[in-house]
């Protein structure tokens, strides 16, 4: 499991060490084994694809597997900073791991670019000038969903999420923008696989709509069991329960479900079609939103490298903050707390040929930012 792959994105030529003199070394800590490995693999593949497509041969990438364990992630961060001497860290998928690693890394003067997790403490009081979130603050998709459902006139909602920081953030975000009543709010165990008890509660509830956040295997289990239960209430969730990596495993049980996302493979913005085609060609599968985030993270980093050297921390920070790169999500800029200001779209799960995938159906929130920026004093 100690999958330790040191990957040189730089072309493996004898000249590479020379090119590294002015280059940048990035350490990626992500989940490559155990449950949830699909997410980390997508982020890594998206990141490496961007480096390859940009021909960034002065970018050296060291990839490590955190096994989804906070203690392992902390050790890896120490190792990457102290013995690998990386300049920038990235890669973490899970909020609890990010909370364990990011504050220590930024305190040591390293940059951290988050390609996935966006726990609320790091957006508010715990923000740091060297921490850039390239994905989303955890609440964002749920805030957009809450706003969307209010707009649609849905009155009563049943909420469900795992009992961990991201789960609580998502539900808080939903409630912040939802104007109707929350009839029940259920927190399940992280990693729970059997939702019979919760589905019975949903059946008995008088809510008109279910909104849930269950990433990875949890979402697969819930959707399959929900489809078999005969409960007719419509369900909605953030894109994490319906990303490309798991839709194949859910199958037709997910058809028609709406979900909020900042990206979709059919989003019509410059560069997105090239990314989707390039990813399919390189890896033989459709990219997920995690892959898109990995891709954007690398491109942001590469754009900053073109403007300033990482040894000039202030210049490099300003270059990152400018976000002068072509995001596959379209318009993208950083707010004052270094979290994204971006559109959140509504997608629907459809079948294209034999493939179950997502289709863009509308915009849930325009130029959406997070609610914690006011607490951030940099």
């Amino acid at each position: 499991m100690k999958l330790k792959s040191v990957l040189m994105a730089a072309c493996m030529t004898a000249l590479a060490p020379l090119a590294l003199a002015d280059g940048l070394k990035v350490g990626m800590i992500t989940t490559l084994s155990g449950g949830g490995a699909g997410l980390g693999i997508d982020v890594r593949d998206g990141f490496l694809l961007a480096a390859k497509m940009a021909g960034a041969d002065d970018l050296e990438i060291v990839v490590e597997d955190d096994q989804r364990k906070p203690d392992v992630a902390v050790q890896l961060a120490d190792k990457l900073i102290q013995s690998e001497k990386v300049d920038v860290l990235t890669g973490i998928i899970w909020s609890n791991l990010a909370l364990a690693v990011v504050p220590a890394a930024t305190a040591q003067g390293k940059f951290y670019l988050s390609p996935n997790a966006g726990p609320s403490p790091l957006a508010g009081k715990g923000c740091h000038q060297n921490y850039f979130n390239v994905s989303w603050q955890n609440d964002a998709f749920s805030e957009a969903a809450g706003a969307y459902l209010s707009e649609e006139g849905v009155g009563k909602v049943f909420l469900m999420a795992p009992n961990y920081p991201a789960g609580q953030d998502m539900m808080a975000g939903f409630k912040r923008f939802f104007k109707g009543d929350v009839t029940e709010e259920v927190y399940t165990k992280l990693g729970q696989q059997d939702y019979a008890a919760e589905i019975a509660q949903i059946r008995a509830s008088d809510a008109d709509q279910v909104y849930f956040f269950l990433p990875g295997g949890m979402g697969i289990s819930f959707m399959k069991q929900f489809a078999a239960s005969g409960v007719e209430k419509p369900v909605m969730g953030p894109a994490f329960s319906f990303d490309q990596g798991i839709l194949g495993a859910i199958g037709e049980a997910a058809l028609g479900v709406k979900n909020t996302s900042h990206w979709s493979k059919d989003l019509d913005v410059p560069g997105n079609a090239d990314f989707v085609a390039g990813f399919q060609q390189e890896y033989g599968r459709l990219p997920s939103l995690y892959a898109a985030q990995g891709f954007d993270t690398a491109n942001l980093l590469i754009s900053a490298m073109g403007k300033a050297d990482v040894s000039d921390a202030d210049g490099f920070r300003a270059a990152l903050k400018a976000a002068d790169y072509q995001s596959v999500r379209g318009d993208f800029e950083f707010g004052d707390n270094h979290h994204p200001i971006q559109n959140i779209y509504m997608r629907e799960v459809v079948k294209e040929g034999d493939v179950v995938t997502n289709k863009l159906i509308g915009t849930a929130a325009t130029g959406h930012t997070d609610a914690y920026g006011a607490d951030c004093k940099m």
Binding site: S33, Y187, D194, A196, R203, A204, S221, G230
Partner: protein, 305 residues
Amino acid sequence: MSTLLFFEQMLNGLQSGIMLFLMAAGLTLIFGVMGLINLAHGSLYMIGAFAAATVAAASGSFLLGLAAAMAAAAAAGALIELVVIRRLYERDHLDQVLATFALILILSEGTRWMFGSFPLYLDVPALLSGPVTLPGGIQYPAYRLAIILVGLAVAVGLFQLIGRTRIGIQIRAGESDREMIAALGVDISKLYTAVFALGAALAGLAGAMVGAIQSVEVGMGEPILILAFVVIVIGGIGSIKGALVGALLVGFVDTLGGVMLPMVFGLFTDASTATTVGSALASMAIYVLMAIILIFRPSGLYGEG
């Protein structure tokens, strides 16, 4: 909570307990007969689920998938017993834990290498896909009822096998005195391989049946392995009856705890505190149950000694 909902939750508890029993029965047999702690039991569960998903996808038949799951897990179990486990009987438990933990890592990464990192698709057969209406108007998924029935049938079969057949006598004899039954001319090593394969087949069956309503992915066996250990500690190590009672207890406490505890706290605190505290306590409920039982019966409900 209405009576109907309560009854449905009881059924859910029963179903979750029955499923746990399939895992725990194999684990407790192996521990009881061979004195071996097998951490890789969860990997056999995973192998069952992956075999079922592959065969069901290729053949279109869920039943063939189930058969393949049991065959693949039993074969993997027998192979593991012959190659690795056999060398561990005389070692102490720490060596067994280390070796079988290594097996978890090898089997997980081996599975990832063969099938990739993304979850596989395995759905319930069309015949059992919808809900059925039970007396009293409860809508319950047909597949979960089928799980309960299959689990009960396996439980009855196991009790018959252990209590009434020649091989059952040998298994029980092997449990109490392995030198003596070897001296009496029973081929103890064959018996061990057979017991290990039987336990593995049960885990494979559980993996395939559960895989259809959960996600078939690498690492799916570990969470349920921990629960299965809780079950056999509660039930008394080596006792099939203990495994059944323990599994049902854990199934009920786990299911009902998750539903009732937040409600109970809701009576005297505000809703969000009740949800947080209740959910946190519900995750601990089965371990509290285990601790209480061990205080009064240190060797488990049906354990000896």
